[in-house]
Amino acid sequence: DTAVSQTPKYLVTQMGNDKSIKCEQNLGHDTMYWYKQDSKKFLKIMFSYNNKELIINETVPNRFSPKSPDKAHLNLHINSLELGDSAVYFCASSQDRARPGEKLFFGSGTQLSVL
């Protein structure tokens, strides 16, 4: 059973398009995250949700909008895609936000290529 699953694994699209990446966790966790791994391999947090509530919103263009229909899902919608959005996006989840160092479970990543 996959703990954190995100779809699609690969996404190729043209500039200006709108796309979504879906993430689901079946661990019963309360907190979910989106990370972006850029071409230099830095992993940077973008958003974090706890029980469907946004708790971390880093400096990310407002073209990126997370949506959490329930605590098991955190989708990432990107409007007007730009070349610089090309990266691997990782979804993650953890049991609790209030315990620093809580174990994170990551999805396998979505490689987004913007042409």
């Binding site: 391999k41 992993l43 947090i45 936000r97 315990r99």
Partner: protein, 117 residues
């Protein structure tokens, strides 16, 4: 701001040889420290973490890491590398206090490990 440095971009070792991956951090206080492994096409998997206490931390798959406060380092080691250890390894830090009731990881750039049979 906190930062994590992994000085080695790519390391190649022979199977059965020992391994040490370096990680240095910059932070005002001692952060929580982590090592993650990312195999091709797989998600990140937590190898081990350090919060406090014993500075030598044991993890999964035979890995261990040692926290050295004086050097601001948290190097990952394994006495004998297996071919299946070939992957990318990420060091990460998190603030020791979650002031906003949440925490976030800051990752290094990663070290790619290749294993020669």
């Amino acid at each position: 701001a906190q930062s994590v440095t992994q000085p080695d971009i790519h390391i190649t070792v022979s199977e059965g040889a020992s391994l040490e991956l370096r990680c240095n951090y910059s932070y005002g206080a001692t952060p929580y420290l982590f090592w993650y492994v990312q195999s091709p096409g797989q998600g990140l998997q937590l190898l081990l973490k350090y919060f406090s206490g014993d500075t030598l931390v044991q993890g999964i798959k035979g890995f261990e890491a040692e926290f050295k406060r004086s050097q601001s380092s948290f190097n990952l080691r394994k006495p004998s590398v297996h071919w299946s250890d070939a992957a990318e390894y990420f060091c990460a830090v998190a603030p020791p206090v979650s002031g906003a009731g949440s925490y976030q990881l800051t990752f290094g750039k990663g070290t790619k490990l290749s294993v020669i049979p």
